[in-house]
């Protein structure tokens, strides 16, 4: 069994419906080598202060619910080991750039509304096939590699919290949404770039990115949203200004044939 160590947690506390101003509370927690910040926060909630509000779900960096500022940096609480932070006091705050719901919980509604605007799904012209699918669209490995890295997004919102443009321009689409727009526009099966253009090629769209790369430095999944935004700019310039749209031709394979080839 690993040795237990006492660590102080300075936690941001604020309930907008009761409090007039935020306050800090200090808790002391015993942690071991494997304890994450989320484990420590839940221990505080169970043993010291049940009123502490924390949002979490999977505890394994998949759901993206427990994003918060830990020692001044955007991190997932379930993916950050306390002792690896190597500090006597761990400062925990809600994510920057979002309205606070309560304590460490922030409101992502603005982000999800913007996400709907960029149509984060595959759009195709063959409506009949979409309504009554007869098969599946083939995708070559090199076509998959065009967007694979950017498809790993868990929508934790850390990138948008770190974005300096979003901190001043609340209408900016943010790295998470622009990455999503690129992921689908780069998909060989998608034909929806012209549907997304009015939003992503707007005054508060991808051109407002200053390439500070703060988004890429905090992504817990190792995605590079700054790169996807630059690729999106190139894609828009080719399609919108130079009218160089690569015609996407995807082979539709009937279900029967696909099952046979797998067997």
């Amino acid at each position: 069994m690993s040795e237990l160590r006492k660590v102080q947690f300075k936690v941001f506390r604020f309930n907008p419906s009761i409090d007039t101003s935020p306050k800090w509370k200090i808790y002391e927690v015993e942690v071991d080598r494997g304890s994450t910040v989320l484990d420590a926060l839940l221990k505080i909630k169970e043993e010291q202060d049940p009123s502490l509000a924390v949002r979490y779900s999977c505890r394994q960096a998949i759901c993206g619910s427990c994003g918060m500022m830990i020692n001044g940096k955007q991190r997932l609480a379930c993916f950050t080991r306390v002792l690896e932070l190597n500090t006597r006091v761990v400062v925990v705050e809600p994510l920057n750039n979002y309205p606070i719901v309560r304590d460490l919980i922030t409101d992502f509604s603005d982000l999800f509304n913007k996400e709907k605007m960029v149509k984060p799904y595959i759009i195709r012209d063959d409506t009949l096939e979409m309504l009554n699918p007869t098969g599946m669209y083939l995708q070559k490995p090199e076509e998959l590699l065009e967007y694979l890295q950017f498809a790993d997004c868990i929508e934790c919102g850390l990138c948008s919290s770190a974005c300096p443009t979003y901190s001043t321009d609340s209408l900016f689409l943010t790295p998470m949404i622009l990455n999503k727009a690129f992921r689908f526009s780069a998909d060989s099966r998608d034909m929806g770039l012209h549907h997304r253009l009015p939003i992503i090629d707007s005054e508060h769209g991808c051109w407002r990115c200053h390439f500070a790369v703060a988004c890429s430095s905090v992504c817990p999944k190792g995605i590079d949203p700054a790169k996807s935004i630059q690729l999106l700019k190139r894609m828009i310039a080719s399609a919108s200004i130079f009218k160089l749209v690569k015609k996407k031709e995807t082979q539709l394979v009937s279900r029967h044939h696909a099952v046979e080839s797998v067997v």
């Binding site: 209408l171 508060h204 051109w207 919108s240």
Partner: protein, 104 residues
């Protein structure tokens, strides 16, 4: 005008400032290349320099202001105001340029 077109012109004018600015500096500082100033291309390059600097600076200012004051109506006000300022500066700058080279 689409945002992508505005930004493409922004990058192109940035390059033009570099080229025409270099022509201006070289022709005024290198004795062996002073003959450039005698050609008809010199005032023309200054005209391009003026237009490029004005577009680049006004668009840069627009980008900053649009971020600081987000909103669809504020964006239109900012763009229109800066466009008018840019046009006024361009006309007056062009007038001085024409007078300077005795074309007016």
């Amino acid at each position: 005008m689409k945002e992508s077109t505005k930004m493409l012109i922004h990058y192109v004018t940035g390059f033009l400032i570099l080229v025409t600015g270099a022509i201006h500096l070289i022709s005024n500082n290198l004795v062996s290349l002073k003959w450039i100033k005698e050609t008809v291309w010199y005032p023309m390059s200054l005209g391009i320099f003026l237009a490029a600097v004005l577009y680049h600076s006004m668009n840069g200012l627009r980008v900053i202001l649009v971020e600081l004051f987000p909103g669809s109506s504020s964006g239109k006000i900012i763009s229109t105001t800066l466009f008018i300022i840019g046009v006024v500066f361009f006309i007056s700058g062009l007038y001085f340029l024409l007078v300077l080279f005795k074309w007016w």
